[in-house]
Symmetry: C2
Subunit: 298 residues, 2 copies
């Protein structure tokens, strides 16, 4: 793989996730973008109008508008659909982009801490995960390389490589200093890694690290009018990436009837009760804990 020099740092893909928006402001004020002179580092607020209004999006979720068919479909002229075309023009075209890495900065209302979300398992991504995890042991590495194709419609898919920095818990439209610092620390490590990766100067990375692998999503049950009839159990509240064994209570109906995890594996939930998934009635995503052996990829 070539050197990674053109790096796009993105905030405000969702206009009410303030850490990324303010990280770019803070770095601008403090002239931090010049801290990696080896890189051609740009910064962009992806959805400025949504940021102005402090909403996730104006019409549709921008971060689900980057399927190649949608980008090419001239009939899709909703606000974020047009914005996606503009961003694809700016950073793409998808599949043939000159941008070697895009880093998209996000918040979640779930208690996921600092989470590095990766769409591939290749030398570059595995090395990044190992590097970040070693310097930031509290971070979580999450692989979603097995997401269904219709879910891989993220902004970062426009660039050659894309990673998402996902930090929480932080309510929408709130800026918490500690959350901002977690995002800043992880983003710095990623950029440091890119420089060392280019120099072939990574030193000794750990031979293995813990990560989580996406498995499936769980939705809250609804009645025939589409109204929720249950909520996430308080047993799971704030317990992202804690194990849930088959048979454990994961939701509860408003009449007090428990709903159990019916899968046959130990699940590690994430995005538990995430506000943005309110519309889809998603209760959480699930993952499995894995140990990644770097030698398998290097």
């Amino acid at each position: 793989m070539n050197n990674i020099t053109r790096v796009a740092l993105i905030g405000g893909t969702h206009g009410n996730e303030l850490s990324g928006i303010y990280l770019l402001k803070k770095w601008g004020k403090n002239n931090l973008f010049s801290h990696w002179p080896q890189l051609d580092l740009t910064q962009t607020i992806a959805n400025p109008r949504a940021c102005e209004r402090s909403v996730r999006y104006i019409e549709t979720d921008l971060n689900r508008e980057f399927a190649i068919e949608g980008l090419l479909d001239s009939q899709r002229v909703g606000y974020e659909q047009l914005l996606a075309k503009k961003l694809n023009y700016q950073f793409g075209p998808k599949g043939n982009s000159p941008v070697e890495l895009m880093i998209d900065l996000h918040n979640t209302t779930s208690n996921m801490g600092a989470c590095l979300m990766l769409l591939r398992k290749d030398v570059f991504n595995i090395g990044m995960a190992a590097y970040v995890k070693e310097r930031m042991p509290e971070a979580t590495i999450f692989f979603q390389d097995n997401l269904p194709e219709q879910r891989k419609r993220f902004l970062v898919s426009v660039a050659q490589q894309g990673v998402t920095v996902e930090v929480g818990p932080q309510p929408n439209s709130v800026l918490q200093q500690e959350t901002l610092e977690l995002m800043e620390t992880m983003t710095r490590h990623i950029l440091d890694y890119v420089v060392l990766y280019n120099e072939g100067n990574l030193g000794s990375l750990p031979t293995e690290f813990e990560a989580f692998q996406y498995t499936e999503d769980l939705v809250l049950p609804t009645d025939d009018r589409g109204q929720r009839i249950a909520m996430v159990s308080k047993r799971l509240e704030q317990k992202d990436f804690h194990p849930v064994e088959p048979g454990e209570t994961i939701m509860e109906t408003f009449e007090g009837v428990p709903i159990h995890w019916e899968g046959n594996y130990t699940a590690y939930p994430l995005f538990i009760n995430e506000a943005a998934y309110h519309e889809s009635h998603s209760a959480m995503s699930l993952s499995q804990r894995i140990i990644v052996r770097c030698a398998d990829y290097f």
Copy 2:
């Protein structure tokens, strides 16, 4: 004072504060409203359209639209301005309402726990606070009877008596079971209290209790373009109702310069970093800790 029999229980004054909305659903499903047969208890979702869209409001904050001048001003025809007139017709008219008590159910993204917010210090309110605090020691009693007049534009001001149940931390558009249970517990105690109050059967209330008294609001500093140049210090994050001494750091600029509390009293902040106050750049409200002696009011 007369008996309190006509009681209006309100959810969804803010459409993205889910605990109140779902408490009414839950009580409906489980036939809980008949649990207080001595009361004429009604339930109302105040802003159904905002609830449908899971936003705080459509055009303006409904819970600031109940100034008497606004209710009488036929030129004020914004969505929530009209809705306020409709609610004033339904529950008022303000100043001459047949509704003896309105209980308005709210969430905050701040870590305020279960907070009973009171607009008066009279026998009924002081008795309620003492009763609730005794049965729910983790609850916080907050008096905002000294709010500036232009701030007393709450929905509950339409009824003869009004209290706000404010529970957090809960992100907007999220329903957490534990937060719902806190709201349910406090609301049950309030209704139980009303029945005993009417019967003159309160038994022995505590002679005194701890409470917090509103003092002022603090805003984040902004530059000449209205952009924030600082954030709430992480020292205060999640520390609602914890003491802040004069001289302590309460905010920090994006360049890392601390901003100190310059008042001359020990302040107890609340609504720290509340998402809804994003537009006004409010950092927090402040209060002072007080001990209320019931004998002063009975």
